[in-house]
Symmetry: C2
Subunit: 242 residues, 2 copies
């Protein structure tokens, strides 16, 4: 039956696309984990490896994009299949960005290792990263298993990440105020924290894409939350006119 | 001639997609311009408008994605047409991110307006934003005109943005060191500067997509440059063991 054969080899192509996404996801998770590990331990060699490893995700994103377009051109897919393919393009782009964020953390390791750091700050960074990585793992599992039930939790828990990031932001400002010698490390750390918070956002994006792939429906566009760090002013700041 | 009619109405759909991108582009440019304007003048009302205006880009990105997928399903396009449509998805995603970055700047306006700011810092932010906006305008013109000649310049000039951002980062650290009362404003401003630098990155992404749409070829993946702020430590930082 030629029709069945075509369908079978098409399914094979879709599975291969999903496997490539799985490989990207595992790689991106590892990069974040290692970047934060390098940061906490001041391990500039590990940081160098993370930076080098980012090229894999750039390459994979490009490959997935090219494969996806080739499959569309060849198979002219409809409905669910098309969602699957366009979804793969979107997820690969989110994962590529997660890699960039990990790289960005890794790039700051040397500058932070060079100067005095209040080590208690690393605890907050580690906890934030644990949350973001748990989210990422969950959405990648949902993508692999095609089970949508966990997806709404991912979005809910993104609020926890935002809240933790905002409190870390405030803490970092306070350390800078207390002792100007903390300024360099804390400024870099505030970026690292922001990068981790963004990993959580990308996990949420992926959750939305996975939901769309599985159900064909769209989670409401409105996200209930956001990080509140943009409103934070440190207690010691001079108020205008003050 | 039904074939000609089909082609004509297909071309019409492609033009409509390109027009939607053009509208998103103009909107995104305006948002960045207004966000930086609000920042420099401490205009929290303008900032509020920018934040509200972001919803338009989110909606448009979604619409373009849906239109693009519908066109692919209906027309089953090949080669250049398919590049055009997939390119529109990519560009809309970059423009949506530019809007997010403008919104992020706008959200910090209130916190910065509340505290003491060294006003000379705004000059650097304005100059950085002028460069990034010029880049964005150039790539959107290249997209609209389908003339690839300016595209390589966009990438070259992204280096200028990175260099200017790195020097601004250093300057901001120095102000924080000089006077802890600058810390809150400078920490928010360093994020604003980073957001503007990222607008330049998205302009570069768009340049790469436009080049691919027009020529079918890919600019080399390797970008020659990056911002160097991750290496910056302020002169007054205590070195380890120091």
């Amino acid at each position: 039956m030629p029709g069945q054969n075509i369908r079978r080899s098409f399914d094979q192509e879709l599975r291969s696309l999903a496997n490539q996404i799985g490989a990207m996801g595992g790689h991106a998770e590892r990069m974040v984990e290692q970047a934060v590990g390098a940061l906490v331990s001041g391990d500039t060699e590990l940081a160098r490896i993370v930076i080098e490893n980012d090229a894999f995700l750039d390459l994979k994103e490009r490959e997935i994009g090219e494969n996806a377009v080739a499959i569309i051109a060849k198979r002219q897919p409809m409905a669910g299949d098309l969602r699957e393919i366009v979804g793969a393009i979107r997820i690969s782009s989110d994962l590529e960005r997660v890699g960039d964020l990990a790289k960005n953390i890794a790039k700051r390791v040397a500058a932070i290792a060079e100067v005095r750091q209040p080590t208690q700050l690393f605890r907050g960074i580690s906890a934030l990263s644990d949350l973001a990585l748990a989210q990422l793992k969950e959405v990648l599992d949902a993508y692999a298993s095609r089970l949508p039930d966990k997806i709404s939790f991912v979005r809910d828990r993104d609020e926890d990440i935002d809240a933790m990031y905002t409190s870390l932001f405030r803490e970092l400002l306070t350390y800078m105020m207390e002792d100007p010698r903390n300024i360099t490390a804390c400024t870099h750390l505030v970026f690292c924290a922001k990068n981790i918070e963004r990993v959580g956002d990308h996990a949420t994006n992926i959750a939305e894409t996975v939901y769309h792939i599985i159900t064909g429906a769209t989670l409401p566009a409105e996200r209930p939350k956001e990080d509140m760090s943009h409103r934070v002013t440190a207690p010691g700041s001079v108020q205008k006119g003050g």
